[in-house]
């Protein structure tokens, strides 16, 4: 729709898009409508465009998982509590940012588990032995998987009804033994923050693993409260993300060194 051209031969696709969204301006829109009423070529093109965009409209958005509302709250609640503190605003950082930083610091200051701390660092900077890099990658991979599995279980616990708990028992037992190993390793390495998170996770896992065959709604609510009140899901989620980031960094370092 050239401004100087009151009756273009045909409209371009982009012009038809603007017309469809009512973005071509009042005078041009009138001219376009008139043109479309008598030009079969442009009318056909416009009709095809409308069909395509109608198909886009009709396509559903993937729904969040069942119990999403509860999960959203479980993630949000611990951060909201932090938000209340006035000191946060005095730092000029948003509570979300601070919560994130805090959680990341938990992991970073712990320097990540056994790999880094139970094995001496390479003597020459920038020349890490391939075996050390590979060991770190494997450790990160294991820890990341453990945290992902733990996170998935916590989410299911939050969103499930009481009947679902016994089904989680075996899974909790498996996670429990791994979790103890990671917690002990973190303790040996002096990473008290990481120990705290894994310790909190362990208490929930113990409750599930040692729970009764028949779980009452009250028991279920207690489990949920335990997860939510400590912000455990949020903490585990942050740790899992950080581990994945570190894992990717380790993969890149391994690629460069090979």
């Amino acid at each position: 729709m050239n401004p100087g051209n009151t009756d273009p031969m045909h409209y371009t696709d982009d012009e038809l898009v603007l017309h469809h969204y009512g973005e071509s301006g009042a005078p041009r829109a009138g001219r376009a409508a008139e043109h479309l009423s008598r030009c079969t070529t442009c009318a056909a093109a416009y009709s095809r465009l409308q069909h395509v965009l109608a198909a886009v409209d009709g396509s559903p958005v993937p729904e969040p998982p069942d119990g999403f509302e509860r999960i959203a709250w479980a993630r949000l609640h611990p951060v909201l509590r932090t938000t209340r503190g006035r000191w946060l605003s005095s730092l000029g950082l948003s509570p979300a940012r601070l919560a994130w930083i805090g959680a990341v610091v938990v992991l970073v200051t712990g320097a990540f588990l056994a790999g880094r701390l139970s094995h001496p660092a390479p003597s020459r900077p920038g020349a890490e032995p391939a075996s050390a890099l590979m060991r770190e990658r494997l450790l990160l991979s294991d820890l990341g998987e453990h945290l992902d599995r733990s996170q998935a279980m916590l989410i299911e616990l939050i969103s499930t009804d009481a009947g679902g708990v016994p089904a989680e028992r075996e899974r909790a037992e498996e996670l429990l033994s791994d979790n103890r190993l990671y917690r002990q390793t973190a303790a040996v390495s002096g990473n008290s923050s990481l120990v705290t998170v894994l310790d909190e996770l362990e208490r929930v896992l113990i409750d599930i693993a040692a729970g009764p065959d028949v779980v009452s709604p009250t028991d279920m609510e207690n489990v949920r409260r335990q997860i939510e009140s400590d912000g455990l899901l949020f903490k585990v989620r942050v740790l899992a993300k950080e581990v994945r980031d570190r894992q990717n960094a380790a993969i890149r370092r391994t690629s460069r060194s090979s």
């Binding site: 982009d14 969204y21 069909h51 395509v52 969040p64 999403f68």
Partner: protein, 199 residues
């Protein structure tokens, strides 16, 4: 009788955490859908949901009781999604429209018409919309979602995304072009196939 949003907001403003929880539980699913449309991944959508309600919580004092909470939180969600999108300037490049034309061959017979099984067709259309949306760059996606689904004007989108008007237009044009490349072969059977020689 359940409380209205306005009543619940009033309680939440007074520090009632359970009231805010009610608001989160009422609106988080809708915010997720919007966030998913704008960001394209479940993880990003979840992050946007969290950021949105955090901001809403902090800004409850500014919420006007006569306003609609859903609309208000929706607007915050759009901004949070935009922040996330803009913070990822190193976004992956979108796929070519030609790639989309090749992705997932449409079920067509020798006449070039779509398969008569409408259910299958519908499923395929949905899959193709998802694929085409995934193939958009973050800016294209944000601009297109804001224009097509949210009804924002190009001027508003330009301001929100910090783009020039022409850049916004071209983001939308590219997005529509990709949608057409992915979907036109499927939906063309329902649309007129008149002349193709246009300026």
């Amino acid at each position: 009788m359940p409380q209205t949003d306005a009543d619940t907001v009033a309680l939440a403003r007074d520090g009632d955490t359970d009231a805010f929880r009610t608001l989160v539980e009422r609106h988080s699913r809708a915010v997720y859908r919007l966030a998913y449309r704008m960001t394209g991944t479940p993880q990003d959508a979840e992050d946007v949901v969290q950021d949105t309600f955090l901001k809403a919580y902090r800004q409850l004092g500014r919420f006007e009781s006569r306003a609609n909470f859903s609309t208000w939180v929706h607007r915050i969600a759009v901004n949070c999604a935009i922040d996330l999108i803009r913070s990822r300037a190193h976004r992956e490049a979108g796929h070519d429209a030609t790639q989309l034309e090749r992705c997932g061959p449409a079920e067509r017979n020798e006449t070039g018409r779509a398969s008569p099984e409408r259910l299958m067709l519908s499923t395929e259309v949905h899959e193709r919309v998802q694929a085409a949306m995934s193939a958009l760059s973050r800016m294209e996606r944000a601009a297109f979602v804001m224009r097509h689904f949210e009804g924002h004007s190009i001027e508003e989108i330009s301001r929100a995304l910090a783009l020039k008007t022409n850049a916004t237009k071209h983001s939308i044009f590219r997005a529509v072009k990709k949608m057409r490349a992915a979907l036109e072969p499927l939906v063309a059977s329902e649309a007129p196939m008149a002349g193709t020689e246009r300026r």
